[in-house]
């Protein structure tokens, strides 16, 4: 039985029915991780964190098999899941891709991990990421770049590039990522998988290593929307451990996905299809829109007049929050210290040597924008623009149920191609950052390939707490197309079913 081809839902069904043991399933995926080390999708450090976590996963699987009768009906029984390394897992290493946290062992599981374990899912590895989630290519990791499974000379996107590559290469049936400006959706698009950034507050951030606290969200990454819904049913919901966690009641996401999208009003923002968009990406997204229309949706033109300012706004707001959040890394409390000469030089040298170039750059940007004399001109102005961007969405959602467009302006770029020019890297997030600024949910799903057989992503954005609608539209699209089923080694079949 080739377990790699099964969806997360199918694997849970097989294990719940006792047709395969959880131990065999875990061993299968651990072996695939080991065989595909060259992708560098998982953090596997001299401290042997992967071996340690693998041992824990095997133990958890044996325990589940031993308590089969009691646990078989738990929603994720035995499901192996890859975890972005910025999400705390108890006792094993959590490094967030940083030298600063190279030997950090979290005293707790993040709330989302706790919920996964309660549902009998098994974390099988920590995935590589841009340091502290700052990047769009997974090149900014202390542990080296991750490769795109579709073309090893290209980036998987970022910052959740390890999670995206792991799912695309079938090293795990599903994964958790986090999304601050597109870090779930952009790598999902580059690696041909499905990734959901939930509404701000929908999934607890307790135990997610903070980058920009008003933007960060944990979300599911899998090959299909159906599997993302399966994970959302477990990880979403109020958590007293996160004061920004929402008390709005959760829907049962897996229940809603089977309804038709007949009559769904889908907004199309024509300015997203203009300058800067790769022609092949534009064509694939146009085809996807026609597909949705043929399934009963209505396409309606909408305007988001301030979205052109989203990247500029984001690159003030996110670095400001990062400069504040990362002040906790002082060489005292978290694992890395550079020098013991004097207190001041210990702080500065530990931070200077413990953080990579992009993290230092963003701390500098944020510290500058928050400093006396510049706060009003940068942070306050950007925060007022943030309100305008949010209002644009509120206006648009008066006439449509969701908004469709490209996830990224291009397909995956070459490793090293943009690392010398931070600004060109930032523009990879041009279509994704607005949802974070406005706190809205958005999903990326595969909708085609370019001439190099690199995946193309379709993004759907919705009003706050409309995850059910997004997952339903994505699932219905996937019932009628086969893009999401294409792996890195499959031949493209290309057409809608």
């Amino acid at each position: 039985m080739d377990l790699a081809q099964h969806s997360a839902r199918q694997l849970v069904q097989l294990m719940s029915a006792g047709e395969i043991s959880t131990a065999d399933c875990v061993d299968f995926f651990l072996a695939r991780i080991e065989q595909n080390k060259s992708l560098n999708a998982f953090v596997d450090i001299e401290a042997n964190s992967q071996a340690e976590l693998a041992e824990l996963a095997r133990r958890q699987a044996s325990e589940l098999d031993a308590s089969y009768t009691a646990k078989q009906s738990t929603p994720l029984f035995g499901l192996p899941i890859a975890i972005k390394d910025g999400i705390c897992t108890k006792s094993t290493l959590t490094t967030a891709g940083s030298k600063m946290l190279q030997s950090f062992r979290s005293p707790v599981d993040a709330t989302c991990i706790h919920r996964l374990r309660d549902a009998s899912a098994i974390p099988i590895g920590k995935t590589n990421m841009d340091e502290f989630a700052m990047g769009s290519s997974t090149e900014n990791s202390y542990w080296g770049p991750t490769k795109n499974p579709f073309d090893h000379s290209r980036v998987p996107g970022g910052s959740s590039g390890g999670s995206a590559a792991a799912v695309a290469a079938r090293l795990a049936p599903c994964a958790l990522g986090s999304d601050t400006g597109g870090s779930i959706r952009q790598p999902a698009a580059f690696c041909g998988i499905t990734g959901l950034k939930p509404t701000y507050g929908r999934v607890s951030r307790n135990g997610l290593i903070a980058f920009a606290s008003s933007l960060d969200q944990v979300g599911p990454m899998a090959r299909s929307a159906e599997d993302c819904a399966l994970l959302m049913d477990v990880i979403a919901g109020h958590d007293p451990g996160d004061s920004t966690s929402s008390r709005v009641a959760c829907e049962h996401y897996s229940d809603g996905i089977n309804d038709s999208i007949d009559g769904l009003r889908i907004g199309v923002c024509r300015s997203f299809f203009g300058e800067g968009l790769d022609a092949e990406v534009g064509d694939a997204v146009e085809h996807a829109l026609q597909q949705l229309k043929s399934m009963g949706a209505t396409l309606v033109d909408v305007e988001l007049p301030h979205s052109k300012y989203a990247v500029a706004t984001y690159y003030v707001v996110a670095p400001c929050e990062a400069s504040s959040n990362l002040s906790r890394y002082d060489g005292v409390r978290f694992s890395y210290r550079h020098t013991d000469e004097s207190l001041d030089s210990m702080y500065a040298e530990s931070r200077g040597h413990g953080f990579g170039a992009e993290v230092r750059r963003r701390i500098m940007l944020g510290t500058f924008a928050l400093s006396s004399g510049y706060y009003d001109a940068y942070y306050l102005k950007a925060s007022r623009m943030r309100r305008m961007i949010k209002q644009d969405f509120e206006d648009a959602f008066k006439s449509v149920d969701l908004i469709a467009g490209p996830t990224t302006p291009s397909t995956a770029f070459k490793i090293g191609e943009r690392s010398a020019d931070p600004l060109s890297m930032y523009l990879a997030d041009v279509y994704t950052v607005a949802a974070n600024l406005a706190g809205l949910p958005a999903i990326s799903l595969p909708c085609g390939f370019d001439e190099n057989r690199l995946p193309i992503g379709l993004q759907l954005q919705g009003p706050a707490f409309s995850e059910s609608n997004l997952l339903r539209a994505a699932h219905q699209f996937q019932l009628n197309t086969s893009w999401h089923a294409e792996g890195p080694n499959n031949k493209p079949t290309g057409e809608a079913k």
């Binding site: 008390r247 709005v248 750059r361």
Partner: protein, 102 residues
């Protein structure tokens, strides 16, 4: 918004001091990178934002369902000292140790 030319090496040095960040990269190179990024950000200057627009700082909006999300004042278990000292670079079993201040 501030003149982008104002990102000079002296300003970089001042900001680095505020951020407590030593950087092996030259001040000139950092100044050039920040100037380029802020040059892009400066397009916010060309946007018209009505005076009535209040900033949106994110998280929870006033008067929303999630406003004043406070939990019950109940004592919860917290970490023991050994756990919290477990990730430090230097400790004496009771305290974080740092270089002498005086």
């Amino acid at each position: 918004m501030a003149d982008e030319a104002s990102i000079d090496p002296d300003l970089v040095k001042r900001v680095a001091k505020l951020a407590k960040l030593a950087d092996s990269q030259s001040l000139e190179q950092t100044a050039a990178e920040l100037t380029k990024i802020l040059g892009y950000v400066d397009q916010l200057n060309s946007a018209e934002i009505p005076d009535s627009i209040e900033p949106f700082f994110g998280a929870v909006e006033p008067e929303s369902e999630d406003e004043n999300a406070v939990r019950s004042d109940v004592v919860q278990p917290s970490f023991d000292r050994e756990t919290m000292l477990g990730n430090t670079t230097d400790n004496d079993g009771e305290h974080f140790l740092v270089p002498p201040v005086f």
